[in-house]
């Protein structure tokens, strides 16, 4: 059984249908990419699957269980994590604290125990600090660990989002344009990072515009156009599909 199954999913805003009858399945352990021209509905698709939007029609199943319309915080409990195309970093916190928020569900969140500082809470928190440290090293941000997030450069923040998502120990990770706005060297680093993540037994679903990166690291690719599924297949199949070439006419596929 596939880890994630999307069935005839549709979403309309007022009269505009942003995603229309899209179906696909993602097998465990793959890097699965979603591509398509601007406005094809990629981010909307992500927002639907991760619970930020409620689908108008269709179903989404994770591990065979329907998750359509389930709230984001409940999805996190099921092992889902994501990053955002427009950075969603907590600028009022340090980089390390941002990563620690990712581990929220693994901690004791009791209010009374927190106020009275039960020993378990303090101990677990300092253990987490070490793990968060480790994660920041993993994404290559060790030198920023004690810095306020607001004083970090854009490229580092992109990676901080990935570290935060990984702190949740997800089984499936959605990356929404992790390389957007980065130069080619930074993009190469993200490319490498995504491979490392996928190598750690995390299923990765990726939206990305950088075709070199997508073709390089994807096991399977879904192509959206005007909210509809155009085709799906391996990098080679997609690259040779005449419809895809038509949709991207003038671009560099």
């Amino acid at each position: 059984m596939a880890l994630l199954e999307v069935d005839n999913l549709s979403k309309s805003f007022g009269g505009v249908t942003a995603v229309q009858n899209v179906s696909f399945a993602v097998d465990r352990g793959l890097v699965y990419s979603v591509i398509g021209p601007n406005g094809a509905g990629k981010t909307t698709l992500f927002n639907l699957i991760t619970g930020v939007y409620t689908p108008t029609e269709g179903d989404i199943r994770l591990d065979g269980q329907s998750i359509a319309g389930v709230e984001p915080h409940a999805l996190a409990l099921k092992g889902m994590a994501r990053t955002f195309q427009n950075l969603q970093i907590c600028m009022n916190m340090t980089a390390l604290e941002n990563v620690m928020v990712g581990a929220h569900l693994q901690l004791d969140r009791n209010l009374i125990k927190a106020m009275l500082r039960f020993p378990g809470i303090a101990r677990r928190d300092s253990e987490l600090k070490d793990q968060a440290h480790e994660l920041m090293r993993f994404v290559g941000l060790e030198r920023y660990w004690n810095l306020g997030a607001s004083s970090m450069p854009y490229g580092a923040l992109k990676r901080l989002e990935i570290a935060r998502a990984l702190a949740a120990k997800p089984q499936i990770l959605f990356l929404d344009e992790p390389a957007a706005g980065l130069n080619s060297m930074e993009t190469g680093e993200i490319d490498e990072l995504v491979r490392k993540v996928a190598g750690n037994d995390v299923t990765v679903v990726l939206v990305e515009h950088d075709m070199k990166m997508v073709m390089n690291i994807s096991d399977r690719i879904l192509v959206l156009d005007y909210g509809k599924k155009l085709t799906e297949g391996t990098a080679k199949e997609v690259r040779e599909n005449p419809d895809v070439i038509a949709a991207y006419l003038g671009s560099n596929v």
Partner: protein
């Protein structure tokens, strides 16, 4: 950070509270110190809501009023023990907060401001109108607070009671912020959608912190009522809500130390201005505006940043 070093601020506060009576010349100054402590405790709770979680409340005096009037009415008219009445007041305030919080916290910015303000005003109007119980606009006397045959009376005794509560609140607030719960609170301020996808049930957190701050506001309302021995509807009115919010804002949003400083400064201000009848309101207003323009983060965070300390670690 070592356990000892973590508690330095607590020890400093304890030291200040212990030594303060040595320099307080008379009951008038004790009285001011007590009012500062009461406000500081309310503001600590309110700052968790406004500063840390980023949710505005313009009606918190309503909760203070609930506690004050519970302590005034229940013992004198229904024969309840004052402590029980205090608990009941806090329970009522928390329940009101919990009931309205869910729908309120789906709202943002202006709407949230309006809803909390409306709630506060309704409470104030009820207090003013139910004269049979509350004595109406003239207020009513409050029985003294007795504990196991011992009655708390006089400024000096009240001072020590409030010093103890303040110390506990300060300790608990710092613990809370430095915990997974507190981190989630700050995270939802930073980015709601991000904290949501990381598993933070955003609405539940906002509701919880709102209820907690209402609980403490109500307790302090009860304490105020017993301490002064008399309550008037002013304790619940809009202007009092604004005073409390001003303390949060001036001292520093999302700053525990700021809450203390804000409460101390703005409790002292009306005393200092009392010779200039009417200028109090103008001064409050000007301070709000100037503070928001020139140091929107408030006194403590702004100064901490100015003197090069990393504001993030220095809460």
């Amino acid at each position: 950070m070592s356990v000892l070093k973590r508690q330095y601020p607590l020890m400093i506060l304890a030291g200040v509270l212990l030594l303060l009576p040595l320099v307080l010349p008379n009951n008038y100054y004790y009285d001011i110190a007590i009012r500062m402590a009461i406000n500081a405790i309310i503001v600590l709770g309110l700052n968790l809501l406004i500063g840390f979680a980023g949710q505005i409340s313009l009606g918190h005096a309503g909760f203070v009023g609930v506690g004050a009037y519970a302590s005034a009415i229940l013992p004198s008219q229904f024969g309840w023990h004052p402590l029980l009445a205090m608990g009941a007041g806090a329970a009522i305030a928390s329940t009101i907060a919990a009931i309205v919080a869910r729908p309120i916290f789906r709202l943002k910015g202006h709407y949230l401001a309006m809803a909390t303000l409306g709630l506060g005003i309704i409470i104030a109007i009820v207090i003013k109108n139910e004269a049979a119980y509350t004595g109406g606009p003239d207020g009513m006397p409050v029985a003294p607070l007795g504990l196991m045959g011992f009655e708390i009376s006089g400024e000096k005794q009240w001072y020590w009671v409030l010093a103890a509560i303040l110390l506990f609140s300060f300790w608990a607030a710092r613990n809370l912020i430095d915990s997974p719960f507190g981190r989630a609170l700050r995270a939802l301020h930073g980015s709601e959608v991000a904290s949501q996808v990381m598993g933070v049930d955003v609405v539940r957190y906002k509701v919880t912190i709102f209820v907690l701050s209402a609980f403490f506001a109500s307790l302090m309302g009860s304490v105020t009522a017993h301490y002064i021995g008399f309550v008037t509807p002013n304790i619940a009115d809009f202007f009092h809500s604004i005073e409390l919010m001003t303390m949060v804002v001036v001292g520093g949003m999302a700053s525990i130390y700021g809450s203390l400083i804000g409460a101390v400064l703005l409790t002292a201000l009306p005393q200092a201005l009392s010779t200039f009848e009417g200028w109090e309101t103008v001064a409050f207003g000007s301070i709000l505006i100037l503070c928001m323009i020139f140091m929107p983060k408030g006194l403590v965070p702004t100064l901490a940043a100015r003197f090069g300390r990393n504001g993030q670690e220095d809460r």
